[in-house]
Amino acid sequence: MKIIIPIKRVLDPYTQARVNKQTQLVDLTNAKMSMNPFCEIAVEEALKIKESGAASETIAVSIGSEKTIDTLRTALAMGVDRAIFVKTDSELDLQPLHLGKILANIVKREEAQLVIMGKQAVDNDNNQTGQILSGLLDYSLGTFISKFQLSDDGKSVEVYREIDSGIETRQLNLPAIVTVDLRLNEPRYASLPNIMKARSKPLETIEISSFNIDISPRVKVISVKESGTKDRASKQVQSAEELFAELIQLGVL
């Protein structure tokens, strides 16, 4: 069984996003970039399945400019077997529908039985790509998973889904797409020897044009602005009595 792990390079989640006044886009020039945290969890889960003997190969896929290779190398250093890099011309803002179409092509080509990916990327916060991919392929889908258990016969998986009302357990027939939530596992760090080893692992480059997919944006960003978090008065109180009195005064108690 092959596992495909689509991953995304994003602005480091602990870095504040800033708008470039000239371009009217989020400024990523010289910004610290890293693998989307949910993608790290997806990579870790795929590696655990491979280590259990249930998977034959793990393949990381990323779509973007030349710099995206760094993120694929990180996945290889964590232990993924090989990588597929879909090269775009510039920092083209591909949308989940485009990504889903490209990934669907790759999943079919590789005849992968399982796709493990993050539930959302922390830059655009769409929470869509896994769902779209499953719709295009008509595969079963488990979103927001916090537990993953392959069945003994290898034909299905049992997942815990973290939903608003609690935890749903479902059995998904393979082939399947799962999108991972934060509590699924604790991703490993790449060791130095593995970082060195990753340099010689296979990395295939595919030009995006070879997919013959219309990548013109369906939803165009007209403008962006920093909403930030407005500082408030931060009036100090010293006791429960004082706090409750203030809250009653403000009409919220």
């Binding site: 996003a17 779209i132 357990t169 934060l182 962006v224 931060s234």
Partner: protein
């Protein structure tokens, strides 16, 4: 230019996020229909009495209890043939189904819409809400989830016509096994007037009970930071923030939460924010209307003991 709203039911009750989606829909059109997928057509009664809805379309079948997203999205996509817009309130229910409907309709969906500027221009958050983007859709059909804290929750008083659709239910590729529902007597987090929220500073699951106690005293819902959830103090459905729930109560009381940007994203629109923490430099403190800089255990004891 008609709108279809995919209604999320909690039992037989319409969810508050669906009510927000109705308010958003009224800004797009006055031809608004509702779609309900349910195992029991009796559950559609509460939908028919919603304000602003013309027709309620019901697909009722015993197979639709805990239906798979694959089946749900095929049914919704089929009904969408007659509509320009598909709206649903942002929740794990809609975020599961709507993007897959988008794939079937060859449409790029729009997540977490906070403002409707025109019939194809919307405002939505990026980067945990630190950036607000104005986006324009060129798709013929527009599919979007609506953030429940950004729109009023539409009320009752209507009397919509109910139409049962008899569509064949496709074969499902995933099976429901069980659900572990969080049981709580407290107000629901996303609609509560008051929230008492705890962070890593609480130190343990046992200590987190002090948050529950204060919440009960104030008739508030309980919330938590991601750090508290990851540390196992409380389950994930209480998480407030970028990857959890977005809330905007009248009172948000944060105890032992330092205020990562991902958490602030989920509660910054609260009317009054109170912070109890011993760290004066925590980002959370700058967000606060009221700050009590002190040992949080002493503060919680004093608050819990104080008679209102």
């Amino acid at each position: 230019m008609s709108v279809l709203i995919l209604i999320e039911l909690n039992g037989s009750e319409v969810s508050s996020n669906s009510r927000a989606a109705i308010t958003a829909a009224t800004q797009l059109s006055d031809k608004i229909d509702a779609l309900v997928l349910t195992d029991d057509s009796a559950n559609a009664a509460s939908v028919a009495s919603l304000d602003s809805i013309n027709n309620v379309k019901v697909i009722a079948d015993s197979k639709l209890e805990h239906v798979s997203v694959g089946v749900a999205s095929k049914l919704v996509a089929e009904v969408m043939a007659d509509y320009k817009y598909l709206l649903s309130g942002s929740s794990t229910y809609s975020k599961n189904i709507l993007p897959r409907v988008g794939a079937l309709l060859d449409v790029q969906p729009i997540s977490d819409v906070c403002e409707i500027k025109s019939n194809n221009t919307f405002v939505r958050p990026l980067y945990a809400g630190n950036i607000m983007a104005t986006v324009e859709s060129s798709d013929d059909t527009i599919v979007m989830t609506i953030r429940a804290t950004a729109f009023e929750h539409s009320g009752d008083g209507g009397s919509a016509a109910v139409e049962e659709l008899s569509l064949p239910i496709p074969e499902q590729k995933s099976n429901f096994i069980s659900i572990q529902e969080s049981q709580s007597e407290r107000p629901e987090l996303t609609t509560a007037d008051r929230i008492v929220s705890g962070g890593r500073g609480l130190g343990s699951k046992e200590n987190f009970a002090l948050i529950d106690q204060l919440a009960d005293k104030l008739d508030a819902a309980v919330g938590a930071s991601r750090a508290a959830v990851d540390a196992g103090f409380i389950s994930n459905d209480y998480q407030v923030g970028q990857t959890g729930k977005v809330v905007a109560p009248n009172l948000y009381l944060a105890v032992g939460i330092s205020g990562a940007i991902q958490h602030l994203a989920g509660m910054k629109d609260s009317q009054v924010i109170v912070v109890i923490n011993n760290d004066p430099d925590a980002p959370m403190a700058r967000m606060a209307d009221l700050v009590w800089q002190t040992d949080l255990f002493g503060a919680l004891k004093e608050l819990n003991d104080h008679s209102l």
